[in-house]
Symmetry: C2
DNA sequence: TCCAATTATTTTAAGCTTGAACTATTTAGG
DNA sequence: CCTAAATAGTTCAAGCTTAAAATAATTGGA
């Protein structure tokens, strides 16, 4: 590649490769969730958040954690509760809010999905050495730090 | 981090960071496209593909390039043509197929969006050094190679 | 105590996304 | 030449996603 490539072009190339890699992995995860569990990645993400908080999360806490809109969470939680995987409970002292928890069924279903998910990722990333994996993690940490920094 | 972490956990951590970084950047790109151009990332992607092929692409060529379903492309191209940014033309000798091209309006709009897009990526990735950028690119190339390898 | 401002969630309209079914057309083999 | 199989694109149902509007409830200051 040309040594005189402007740094903005190099960064664009980095972004396109980042996008390509994450899209390829995500496509595979979505396919496996659908085929093996008749589920979806957004449901998996919501269940994952709820799994980490056994006492439950409020709707807006879920949307904050997952960085998606409240309206989106309403729809996903509606479907999870319809299928008996999650339930809404009232919040003492605040009739506006509701607390969402996984049911026992939901917890065990998620535990199985999560184990399988880890196996899929393990297989997909087998081609990277441990050194490359560690080196990527270190640099992604730096990148994430700069992305989260509110300074311009 | 614990030296004895299983390699599958390390790979899972890598995946989650990859996802976090690409989601943060993508969210910002989507926001800027909507606020500055009243456009969307899928439209940008389709226009980008068409921009690179001035003689046009068939519908299924667009869906192959972008790795999305034909039905999705139908909808996006419908809206781009309704807004005068693209047009469909017939394919000599094959009445099933159609060829999609950007209009002059579409070409100039995309050129502006693409220049802005490069500037946004440049700004978002400013926090990474040139060494780190190159090191990431090299490793993402390896990762992409393994993801594209059809061997199990 | 009252009420404007704020908050929590749902609803809405619009865009995107998939996989499957459907329609129209082309291709290839008998 | 004929027709089954394959192909190109559209339509459909269902799920996701956003931002904004709407509704119900809470909060805090005058």
């Amino acid at each position: 590649m040309n040594e005189t490539e402007p740094v903005s072009k190099t960064r664009l190339r980095l972004w396109l490769k980042l996008l390509k890699a994450s899209n390829r992995i995500e496509d595979e995860i979505r396919r496996k969730l659908r085929e093996d569990y008749q589920s979806t990645l957004p449901r998996f993400d919501v269940m994952s958040a709820l799994f980490r908080y056994p006492d439950g999360l409020k709707m807006s806490e879920i949307s904050d954690l997952l960085r998606v809109s409240n309206g989106n969470i309403t729809g996903i939680v509606d479907r999870l509760t319809q299928e008996g995987l999650a339930e809404r409970a009232s919040v003492p002292g605040d009739r506006r809010a509701s607390l969402v928890r996984l049911t026992d069924t939901g917890r065990s279903a998620f535990a199985e999905h999560a184990a399988a998910h880890e196996g899929w990722i393990d297989r997909l990333l087998t081609g990277l050495s441990e050194e490359d994996t560690a080196a990527m993690i270190a640099r992604l940490d730096k990148l994430i730090d700069t992305l989260e920094d509110p300074r311009p």
